[in-house]
């Protein structure tokens, strides 16, 4: 297994003069990575100084050969630019809601800071935003004065990633109840289903953002038919309003479904492995008279959840 790096903002180490061992190979790769992973200048060029104040040109000259057209600095700069363009583009695509709140320029500054503190530890770019919520909790300066809204958005946008390609288990069927003591029934939820208790109605906000972006794009084509402009009206930021949302999928598409707070509590209790009776108790009022009132509602919840395939067989 790969060792964990001690410092994500690794200092630019000196390149070895020879690569005659695996250790020297690792040293060369660390030295090059130190340069390639340094943030770019505002003009998208490689920085003239390394993190520890050395001349980047001198550090690059120790690693890369110049040729008749490019200096060592310029040759490594190609990789430096490609690295940042790739990871920033990926995060940009994954976070349309957060971008809409922060604005593109502030979002890019935040994204760069995030990727310096938490560079990718996964083989796939899919997981790039996985620690963004943690980062924003640690460094709320990037999201002020909309930190609570941004945290909801980050959780919501990450939930969509998880829903898109999360695992599914065999569907639960009513026949699976046969022979089970009703008092001890435990249900299980599909692993991909995401349940979120939010302070802001970010589901509606995100739908509005996506509609606006689709309008700006014109269609789903790769080739823009015109230069992107911001003429379409800006989507107003949502007001604080507690809500519960299930992010789920059907036929390969992602859907958001609002849940009544009580329904969300029941589902969260089921997810926590509580027996059905306890799960219901977690969400429903205790008074017997109220319970009767709620019976029809609970029945319709379960009917819908079964139809949406949210229950799976327990292992």
């Amino acid at each position: 297994m790969a060792a964990k790096s001690k410092d994500s903002k690794a200092a630019v180490t000196k390149a070895p003069a020879r690569v005659d061992s695996t250790r020297a190979l690792a040293a060369l790769q660390r030295a090059m990575w130190g340069l390639v992973s340094q943030p770019l200048t505002a003009a998208n060029r490689m920085k003239p100084r390394t993190r520890d104040g050395r001349s980047t040109a001198a550090a690059a000259a120790e690693i890369a050969k110049p040729n008749d057209r490019l200096t060592s600095f310029e040759r490594l700069e190609i990789y430096n630019r490609m690295y940042w363009f790739r990871v920033l583009d990926s995060l940009y695509e994954d976070c349309p809601g957060l971008r809409a709140v922060l604005g593109d320029a502030k979002f890019m500054r935040m994204a760069e800071a995030y990727l310096q503190k938490y560079p990718s530890r996964s083989f796939t770019l899919r997981n790039l935003p996985s620690r963004l919520e943690k980062f924003l909790r640690e460094e709320p300066k990037w999201t002020r004065p909309h930190t609570a809204l941004c945290l909801d958005l980050v959780r919501f946008e990450w939930a969509q990633v998880e829903v898109y390609d999360g695992g599914a288990k065999p569907l639960f069927r009513v026949e699976d109840l046969a022979g089970i003591n009703p008092a001890k029934v435990r249900l299980a939820l599909q692993p991909y289903l995401q349940l979120l208790q939010l302070d802001y109605p970010v589901d509606d906000f995100l739908i509005a953002i996506k509609k606006r972006e689709a309008l700006l794009r014109g269609d789903a084509s790769n080739a823009p038919t015109r230069v992107r402009t911001s003429k379409a009206s800006k989507v107003p930021l949502p007001r604080r309003e507690k809500c519960a949302v299930a992010v789920h999928r059907m036929d390969g598409r992602i859907y958001f479904k609002r849940l009544e707070p009580a329904a969300c509590k029941v589902l969260l209790a089921i997810r926590a492995g509580k027996p059905l009776a306890q799960a219901l108790a977690a969400g429903l009022p205790r008074a017997k008279s109220k319970q009767l009132e709620w019976a029809g509602k609970v029945q319709s919840w379960f009917c819908t959840w079964m139809q949406l395939g949210w229950f799976c067989r327990r292992e």
Binding site: M1, S8, Q29, R30, W33, L70, Y83, S120, D165, Y192
Partner: protein, 294 residues
């Protein structure tokens, strides 16, 4: 040929990269395509649309897995969790061989998501070959390594790129995914003759070829995969199949992706060169033994 141990003794023709904008067309129109190459990482997931699409493709087509994150050339050890996921996918696809790049891209567990060039040294070749063997033994599949396009060279290099490629594949006893476009791009960036490269790789180890388009800038060429294949690359491809035999060939088109038909038509241009090579009745390439450059 090119059925050989490195492509699982298959004899595949012209394939296409399976890309998201073409999913609906392929699933609804079911075009005749000899095989699809998938990017393994796209499908190394637990469920959802990627696997649903893959299963429908697998029901109709032959699929070969191509990866972008094994990083055989990174000094780090292979990641066991990654390999476990990859192996599960190979069981699903029944890929006859698996390819990834002769490059590095991770350092101490941090990923660059890029295909970074190797220093061409004996120690680097030894370490790389050791990792290829580890992966092959774990996956129980033939492995083919792809030459990458590059934009820099290292002071520490002790040999040419094609000598390094030969050294690695001989030490690892694995196949080559010969990317003709990458050879062309690197030849322009580093000032070597691309024909020297093609002439000097162990031809009997070529399991598959890649062709693609690239973009010329003022001082270098970038491997962008967003254009049709350019004439010099077609010529180099024609030369390569004369030496290696008719080999499973795949067109890569990953950006500014046009319609499925346009991509397929571009790939099928390879038929012209394949026909010429077949008519010429070129004998299968002989096994070459490694000549150490040291």
């Amino acid at each position: 040929m090119p059925a050989n141990p490195y492509n699982g003794f298959t004899d595949y023709g012209i394939g296409l990269g399976l890309r998201v904008p073409h999913y609906d067309h392929i699933l609804s129109e079911k075009p005749t395509v000899d095989w699809f190459e998938i990017i393994s990482e796209t499908f190394m997931v637990d469920g959802g649309r990627p696997l649903e699409v893959l299963d429908r493709i697998l029901a109709q087509y032959r699929v070969v897995q191509h990866g972008v994150s094994l990083y055989f050339g990174s000094a780090d050890d292979p990641d066991r969790a990654h390999l476990k996921k990859l192996k599960a996918l190979t069981k699903r696809t029944k890929t006859p061989w698996l390819s990834d790049h002769l490059c590095w891209g991770s350092v101490d567990g941090t990923y660059s998501h890029d295909l970074l060039p190797m220093p061409y040294t004996f120690a680097a070749a030894k370490r790389t070959a050791e990792k290829i063997r580890m992966v092959r033994d774990y996956l129980e599949l033939p492995i083919a390594v792809e030459n990458v396009s590059s934009y820099t060279e290292f002071h520490v290099s002790e040999m040419t790129e094609w000598e390094f490629l030969a050294e690695v594949v001989e030490l690892a006893d694995c196949g080559i995914l010969l990317d003709v476009n990458n050879i062309y791009v690197s030849s322009k960036n580093h000032g070597f003759d691309p024909y020297d490269y093609v002439n000097n790789v162990p031809h009997h180890r070529v399991a598959q070829m890649h062709i693609a388009g690239h973009t010329k800038f003022e001082k270098y060429i970038l491997d962008t995969h967003d254009h049709p294949v350019l004439d010099p690359v077609w010529k180099l491809y024609a030369h390569a199949i004369k030496l290696c035999g008719v080999t499973a060939t795949l067109l890569e088109w990953d950006d500014k992706i046009p319609s499925f038909q346009e991509v397929h038509d571009e790939a099928l241009k390879a038929n012209q060169f394949i026909t010429e090579a077949r008519e010429a009745k070129i004998p299968a390439p002989k096994k070459t033994s490694r000549v150490r450059v040291r």
